[in-house]
């Protein structure tokens, strides 16, 4: 005959501990990165506004082009074929201060004599 449950049942063990859900920590991951990005963007905004301001008084491109043209016109260039007034027949006076021009011209003259 089965025993009466109320008199002979084993004692109920205490409830097993259950793992708890982790506490809701504030999400710090990426915050620092976002703050830095915000600072970078704020600086970009500042620089862009400064640049806009500077363009209020900026000269148009044509003035810059004129300056480039004037500079090029007023400076001699050893690489550019030029017409010059005759000063003397000397080979050296044609070559100016350029060692390379002297040498190259000399080589060209010698090469043409060999043909």
């Amino acid at each position: 005959m089965p025993a009466s449950p109320s008199k002979t049942a084993a004692p109920i063990p205490p409830a097993l501990p259950r793992p708890r859900s982790p506490p809701k920590y504030p999400e710090n991951c990426g915050t620092r990165r976002l703050q830095l990005d915000a600072q970078i963007l704020n600086r970009k905004i500042l620089f862009s506004r400064e640049e806009l301001q500077s363009l209020e008084d900026a000269q148009p491109v044509s003035i810059c082009c004129k300056e480039v043209d004037e500079f090029v016109r007023t400076n001699a260039d050893p690489f550019i074929p030029q017409k010059r007034k005759r000063k003397s027949c000397s080979f050296l006076s044609h070559s100016g201060n350029s060692i390379f021009h002297c040498f190259t011209h000399f080589e060209t003259v010698m090469a043409s004599r060999l043909i």
């Binding site: 990005d37 600086r43 491109v61 090029v72």
Partner: protein, 378 residues
């Protein structure tokens, strides 16, 4: 502030930046009333004309056993230093083609070299993220190499380019793959200033090239993989003076125009451009027409002739165009001349008196070009 609020601020700030950028573009467009070539044509300029023998290769410098990556002339114009994939730098007498120094570098992966103002020192930098300084008067070690007198460490990425400040024997500017440029005192080895890095609004990618303004040595320009060029004042490291937009690819090379008020750039997008330093205007694009399926060659190196009338540009396909700067036309291709290089023109530089151009190539050689034509007399 919460992450959500920060993200919202980020979105708003980005929209503001984009709107300001658009307004800047429109404002610049209003000021873009011409460009250099249109102005020159309207004022009666005609293109320079070269005959095939006007520019000749008068010297070939042979000795490197690897690609030539970088070269520099001395101020007194008759010596050249070159750095190569073979892990050496060589100093050449440009007139006689003789080598005066040949040194194996501590790090074989060199990317740049430069002469000091006096020509007594050479700086080399590369993948070791450092710049080594060599005194050419030092005694060689038992292997015949000059030991570095100083090693400049501090960059966190490769050193792509270096140049001594023209009127200061001991100050050097470097550019680096760590997105910054540096100003160094080579006597102490100390880095005086850092230009860029994340917060100070510098370049946002590798910096590939620098050029110091010879008219005002406090200013230098840098070119970067972020497709921009930036001008810096060495006295103000916190921010660039100005940023220059326009290129659509890495800016591999930058060089000041001889008047010190403009500078040129060369890029992976295949174009060279001329910018005005003070206003930020893009004054001219130097570009060839290519077909839709063509590989567009990258511009690897540029130099201006002494008057600024010619722009020499070396390309990844071996071309070396001579551009008429005023008319934006190619007047000669050194790459197609007799006795030219057989590979990418990686570097080029003009002698200080403007009479000779040196080109360096992946074909392991350097070549010196000069005007070999006759000047007409009247």
């Amino acid at each position: 502030m919460s992450v959500a609020e920060l993200k919202e601020r980020h979105v708003t700030a980005t929209e503001t930046v984009n709107a300001l950028r658009e307004r800047l573009t429109q404002r610049r467009q209003l000021l873009l009333d011409t460009d250099v070539s249109t102005y020159a044509r309207n004022h009666g300029k005609t293109a320079i004309s070269f005959s095939p023998t006007d520019l000749v290769c008068c010297r070939t410098l042979q000795g490197h056993t690897g690609k030539v990556y970088s070269l520099d002339w001395t101020q007194e114009r008759n010596r050249i230093v070159s750095a190569s994939q073979d892990g050496r730098f060589i100093v050449w007498n440009a007139l006689t083609s003789q080598k005066t120094h040949a040194t194996k570098l501590p790090c074989a992966y060199v990317m740049t070299c430069a002469f000091s103002r006096s020509g007594q020192s050479v700086a080399c930098g590369g993948l070791d993220s450092a710049c080594s300084i060599f005194n050419l008067n030092s005694q060689v070690d038992r292997d015949g190499n000059i030991p570095p007198s100083r090693v400049l460490t501090g960059h966190k990425g490769y050193v792509s380019c270096c140049q001594f400040v023209p009127d200061q024997e001991f100050h050097l500017i470097t550019s680096s793959g760590d997105q910054t440029c540096g100003l160094w005192d080579v006597t102490t080895g100390q880095r005086i200033s850092v230009f860029g890095g994340e917060f100070p609004s510098g370049h946002t990618s590798d910096v590939l090239s620098v050029s110091v303004n010879t008219s005002n040595s406090n200013m230098f320009v840098s070119g970067s993989c972020d497709a921009t060029a930036r001008v810096w004042d060495t006295r103000i490291a916190s921010r660039p003076v100005r940023t220059y937009y326009g290129h659509t690819g890495d800016v591999n090379t930058v060089k000041f125009f001889p008047d010190g008020q403009r500078f040129g750039t060369g890029s992976d997008d295949g174009t060279c451009r001329l910018f005005d330093m003070k206003t930020g205007h893009q004054l001219q694009i130097y570009s060839q027409q290519y077909g839709e399926n063509d590989d567009i060659p990258c511009v690897k190196s540029i130099a201006f002739s002494i008057s600024g009338r010619l722009l020499f540009a070396g390309y990844s396909n071996g071309d070396c165009y001579v551009w008429d700067t005023l008319l934006a036309e190619v007047v000669l291709n050194l790459g197609s001349l007799q006795n030219s290089h057989e590979g990418t023109i990686s570097c080029l530089g003009l002698s200080s008196d403007g009479s000779a151009l040196c080109t360096g190539s992946y074909d392991k050689k350097l070549k010196i070009w000069a005007f070999g034509g006759h000047r007409e007399v009247v």
